[in-house]
Each structure stands twice: as C-alpha cells, then as structure tokens.
Symmetry: C2
Subunit: 307 residues, 2 copies
C-alpha cells in the first residue's frame, strides 16, 4: 500500500436536485476524492478552508484516517458552490461560485507529503496544479482533472499540466472542446501528443474510456435506477481509481482497468445520496459486492472465436 | 446452423453526410439486416419492391445466398427514404419518406419460410409485424425493432408486438419515450412487464445494454475514428446479433452476449462507407479480427476480489 496525495477543493455546496436540496453541505473535489480513496489507501490532502468551515467536517475526514496536515485554515470564507440539476442529472447548472479563500491559495506541501508515490491534481487552476507537481517527486505516478473554464482561459498552462502528468482525466465534452475534434478517439490522440501515458475520458451515465498508447478499454457506469445527487461523481470516480492504484501500488494497464471498475462502483454509491451521505456509510464489503456484479455485466464467455 | 427470417424494408436511400452523398442507393432495414446476417447464416427475406427497383440489387443479395422467395415485386415505385447527417452523426434528419409500394404491402410468407426457427421483425408498421408472427411457428425465437413513429401512432398494436416477441430491440430515446421514464433501467422494466425475455437498448456511439430478467450486460460500440455514413447501423447490429444466434442455434444469455459483440463489429464496418459498400466487402476473417480486439477492450483480469 502506497500513500496518495490529492490537491483540490474542500468546499461548502448548496445543491438542488429533483429529489431535494442541501445547503452549505460538505463538498469539494478533494473531499469526494479523499473520502472515496480512504476506503482503499492512506490519503494526504492539500487544500484550503476559511474560518467559517465547521470543525465537525474536518473531524469526519480525520475519522477516516485522512491526513489533513496539508489543509490550511486561513482568514476569510470557505469556497462555496451552488448548483441545480433539473431534468438532466448528467449536467449541473451552476448558480453561484464563490472562490473566497481559493483566490489567494498558495499550496505549500508539508515535508511529509513530498515523497507521495501517487499524486492527483483535482480540477483547479492549472498554475496551482503545476505548483504541486514541482514539490513532489519526479517518480510519482500523477494524474490531473480539469474543466472547460481552464481550457478556455488557461490553455497554455493546462497543456503544461497535461505534458507533465501520467494520466489525464477529462469529461468527453471537454476533451472534444480541448482538441477541436468531433470524434472522441481523435480527440484523445490530440491529448496524447502532449505526452500522458493514460487518458481517461469520462462519459457520465455511459461510463468511461481508458486510452493507453492506442489500446482502448471501456468501463460502463454501474447501472442505477435512481440518482439522487450526481455532485462529486467524477471526483469520487478518480478517488476510486487512484485509491486502487495506490493500494495495489501498480500502474500498469491492468491496474488501471481494475481501478476504473472500483472508481465506477464508488461513484455509483456516491450519487445515491446528497453530499457524502452514502460514501461515508459504505464499507469495503459494499465495494466488493458491486464489483462482483460489475464483472459479470461486462463478461463474455471467451472461446476465442466467433465461428 | 438454423434459418433466419427477416421482414423489413428494401429501399432506395438518398443520404448526405459531411463526407459525401449518394442518391437512390441500396438501403432498407431488411437489406442491411440480411446482408449482415448472411455472413453468419442462411437468411430469408420478406419485403416488397416496385417495378423501378434495379435487378442488379436483387442479384447482389442473391449472390450472398440470401433467399428472396418472400420478396414481392409489385406495380408502383419502391420505398424511398432521404436523410441528412449534419454535425451529429448519431442522429439523421429525415428529409423525405415515400412509402410507395409499402402503403399496400400485405406480407404473405412462402410455405418454405413458415418453420424458420429465428424470426426478426425490423422496424415496420406493427400490424405487419403481427401478421408475420401469425404465419410463423410458435417455437421460433423472435425479435422486433420499432421507432418513435409507431410508439406515438400505434401504441396498442406495438404493445401487442412486445408481448409476443422474445427480444425487443429499441433505441434509448425510444425506450424512454415508450415508458415515460427518465431513467433507462426503469424504462426497461416497463417494457419487461409486457413479457419479452430479452431487451436490447441501443445507445448509438455508446453501444448497447442487454437486459435479461434483471441481469444486465453492457457492450460498447466498436471504436472508430471516422464514421462516413451511419445509415443502417441499427439494422446491421440486429442482423449480426440474430445471425449469430441462428448460426450457433442458441438463445441463452451467453449467446446473446456474444451475438451483441458480433452485431457491434458488423455495425462498425457498415458505417465506414455509404450504403452497403463496406458490408459487402468484408469476410468472416474481418469479423474475427475485430471481435478479437473487442474482447480485449472489455476485458478485466479477474482474481475475484478488489482488496
């Protein structure tokens, strides 16, 4: 088992879906990522919160063994996001984003974090992602997520991030936007030219595609008849993948395939309740159970021939 | 190997895509279906064409061993469809539909067709689908496709079709429309209540889902970097599935899983050229090759546990 470092947001989310709403609930990319990964391995968090952030939330994360030495508490208000999901539970409508303490965030890694062998840069200003990369070991296996905002506003810094990480995780629509292509497999080739060994394209309810030097792997989304709140699904998915890689301390293509299955299982639990309600209640047995069902859902009896 | 009967359209298509266009090209659901299936098993076609239908096209089909005894040639013009694919190659814009000889089509099965052990009812007026069912053996393994037009206009006849077939094949958007649900797995339960043992939901570039008494199987679409003309992809997919079932004379869930892979492979070839250009040029070796790649794209090394 190896240690996993994540930089991202720890936030207070206000979310409305057809099934209800929450206000100032625990959220943020680093929160979802680390909570998911903490079921699998030791996690170290780099993030920032304001004076108003409830100590209870920190206790919740610490209670799962998550290392918060790299979490700064500074004067000011915590990062806040509010959004609404209407008919299409795949796509949030952002109502408000308040960067607050993130506006001046300067990620400084504790010495104990610097040798982390697995590093994930959740969606964040690419300048901050690069700043974390510079403080970590060149031997680390690294991944990065992003969003359309940085594709449009910080293109060259984002390209630098993609050049320097081993694994890019990106939504399908954002991969198309980044590449200017209309076909997702051509889009992936454009990203690959920058250097990442692995590219994971997230397709929402249709699952994800892993690209590794021309080799393709498809993982569906774990089927659910009811999604209560999709917030954090992508971060939970990434936390499951990187948590699995760190736990098994491997990053060959077979490791990523199994890791994507674990990520998909964790994301499926996460969307069954608001905030971290469901993710905080599941155990390793729950993961094993859904993973077993999952394997059956993609299995073909192979006799090696069609005819 | 068992015989496979299909009823559907044999048509002249005019199609425009970003890569070019064709006029009055060989098309129609029964044409794509039977051409695909003829790579796998013996196929019998029930359809109708007009006096204007080129004899060359019939020779093309006969040359593949397809039995056209049930194809009527009647006075009048052949069924014509014209459509355009603009940015979204998943969705055709229909420019014109001329039913012509289909307006008065009365499907009459030759005696030699009536014992066909595999029967597929391609998209067609549900009254005609039922008429074919009534002329075939009750022991046959049967499947049916449909479209939004019949969901909206012939609901009760369509429900009767779904009640009487073993396998419903339906587009995702149409399954949602039919059921009134917003979640595809709940939609499938609504269809299942009518009785079909298998339901195949087609998701375009995202592949398909097989539902069998609560058991789910996902098959991706075979990845392509360029789609030239998607016309007939769904019919080719169905022809590959039912062709495989008839060829191996089995319809257990494992047969359908492998059949869906074969259907997906055949559909991937079909969209690489206009009309039946590509489908007419491939061999069993081509199918075997892509099927081999495909298995690798969904394979996870299974040691039975996550931890």
């Amino acid at each position: 088992m190896a240690e996993l470092l994540v930089i991202g947001s720890v936030a207070l989310d206000s979310v409305e879906t057809p099934f209800g709403s929450v206000e100032d609930a625990l959220g943020g990319s680093a929160t979802y990522f680390s909570t998911a990964a903490s079921l699998l391995t030791g996690v170290r968090v780099v993030a920032v919160v304001g004076e108003d952030f409830p100590e209870d939330h920190l206790e919740t994360l610490r209670g799962r063994g998550i290392d918060l030495e790299g979490l700064q508490r500074v004067p000011g208000r915590t990062f806040r996001w509010s959004g609404r999901y209407v008919d299409d539970l795949n796509q949030a409508v952002t109502l408000d984003t308040q960067l607050n303490v993130f506006e001046t965030f300067d990620p400084e890694l504790p010495d104990s974090y610097k040798d982390s062998p697995y590093v994930f840069l959740a969606n964040l200003h690419p300048a901050l992602q690069l700043k974390v990369l510079e403080q970590t070991s060149g031997d680390a296996f690294t991944g990065a997520d992003t969003m359309n905002y940085w594709i449009e506003g910080e293109r060259s810094l984002l390209e630098e991030v993609f050049r320097r990480v081993d694994c890019v995780m990106i939504n399908e629509a954002e991969a198309l936007e980044f590449s200017g292509e209309s076909n997702i497999f051509r889009a992936v080739r454009v990203i690959e030219e920058l250097g990442p060994e692995y590219i994971v394209v997230k397709r929402g309810e249709y699952g994800a595609v892993l690209w590794h030097r021309g080799e393709i792997f498809f993982i569906p989304a774990f089927p659910l008849e009811e999604v209560i709140d999709p917030t954090g699904a992508g971060d939970t998915f990434a936390g499951g993948l990187f948590g699995y890689l760190a736990a098994s301390d491997g990053h060959q293509t077979e490791d990523l395939r199994r890791g994507l299955m674990v990520g998909s299982v964790l994301a499926s639990y996460n969307v069954e309740d608001f905030s971290l309600g469901r993710l905080l209640s599941i155990t390793r047995e729950d993961i094993t159970m859904r993973a077993g069902h999952f394997e059956r859902m993609i299995h073909i009896d192979s006799d090696g021939s069609v005819f």
